[in-house]
């Protein structure tokens, strides 16, 4: 019953990786939209001329990467960046007693077009002076200001973005990137350090000058390790903290 091995596995990589790539391409091309079901495993197996087991292995990895979601008896669906998912995947600020499970309230402080400085250009892998959007957000938890976000994104992938579009988004910022611009944030690197409050922290977070403030510098990436966004957050850790869970599964 053996079949031709590696029939499609060009470049020496296993077949299921090739299948995974093809599925990813269909995802990116929009053939299967957000939240929709993709074809059943047996149909995919026919379409790609491989066995169901091979499709399963490809889908397994995409599920592990949270790109797809399986539902037994129903089908396999394209994951969406909704509040339940993204927010708590990339948002790590909780109350000291961790009871804070409310969504943060967001206040847009400023939205402007600017040019990339040295640091932003390097982090976003664009040229210095390239146009970027600079956005300042204030996050309130249980009514009090806790996080001050300075977001920098290149203009290029977000051409038609305006203050109104940004402000009137339905859900999270990453959901906006995904639904309107087809950009899927799948990875982030955060660097944290302790600082002393400057006037902005004092003004917006109510930390007294010279008080402690947690600074988080995050770069968010999409496929192929392409940087999408640089975000510098300043956190008032008087009643909240940054939560990092490291498990193995």
């Amino acid at each position: 019953m053996a079949r031709a091995p590696s029939a499609l596995g060009l470049g020496g990589s296993p077949l299921y990786r090739a299948i995974k790539s093809q599925i990813t391409e269909n995802l990116q091309s929009g053939e299967w939209g957000l939240g929709e079901a993709i074809p059943s495993e047996s149909r995919l197996a026919e379409r790609f001329h491989v066995s169901v087991g091979t499709v399963r292995k490809a889908v397994d990895e995409l599920v592990a990467e949270k790109v797809l979601v399986r539902q037994q008896g129903k089908g396999t669906f394209v994951a969406t960046h909704n509040r339940d998912r993204t927010l708590y995947y990339f948002f790590h600020i909780v109350g000291h007693d961790e009871t804070d499970k409310n969504y943060p309230q967001v206040e847009l402080l400023s939205f402007k077009k600017d040019r990339a400085g040295n640091d932003a250009a390097e982090q976003l892998q664009i040229a210095r002076g390239d146009p970027v959007f600079k956005i300042q957000n204030l996050l309130l938890l249980a009514g009090s200001p806790v996080v001050l976000d300075d977001i920098t994104i290149p203009v290029a992938p977000f051409q038609d973005l305006t203050r109104d579009i940004f402000k009137n988004r339905d859900s999270t910022i990453y959901a906006l990137y995904q639904s309107r611009y087809g950009i899927n944030v799948i990875r982030s690197v955060e660097r944290l350090r302790a600082n002393l409050a400057d006037s902005a922290c004092n003004k917006h977070l109510g930390i007294r000058p010279g008080g402690p403030v947690l600074e988080i510098r995050r770069v968010a990436y999409t496929y192929h390790d392409t940087p999408v966004e640089l975000r510098v957050s300043r956190v008032n850790t008087t009643h909240h903290e940054y939560l990092s869970e490291l498990s193995n599964s």
Copy 2:
């Protein structure tokens, strides 16, 4: 060619979970020691009376949990908590430019037996007043003091631990827990906040009083979510920072 389904899958859970449990038990009982190879997949399949594919699925999960390590052509080995692995899995302090790939130098400042206070008791899920070891460590990176660790562990699982055993360990602290006490740290939860330096930070980390210091409170867990260790770290983030990578794979 069908076989009796769920022949061993007691309790409604899939067979490969049962196999996984049996492998884990053999691991914990010490039948297969650290760094040793476990029997080949075909032998395990015979031993447990299942097919190789089922064994593979069980081993897959244990590999994902970093309990086992596969090496093509050689075999499957029991993971060890050596510097290459644990250290960089649970140690997140890097230089601002991330060039710091040197092992930290450790200086033991104090080691004493004490009784658990309210907070430690709660975090470690033991009774208030239960005996604990309290250990203070100073970590130097590139020669300068950067991290001050206050470690609290229950005496119970570490009965015969002494200052000498602790100080003269071969490798990392978690490797000691594993090799001498059979306790495998597999998960940790860290909570970070910004503080102002106290006298201890000033004395050991050279931060001026009132300077910013990053505080990390970590609880490390072994199997069944049993807490093993409470560790409060104070970090001088003048030239170093806490690195958190969140990917999906």
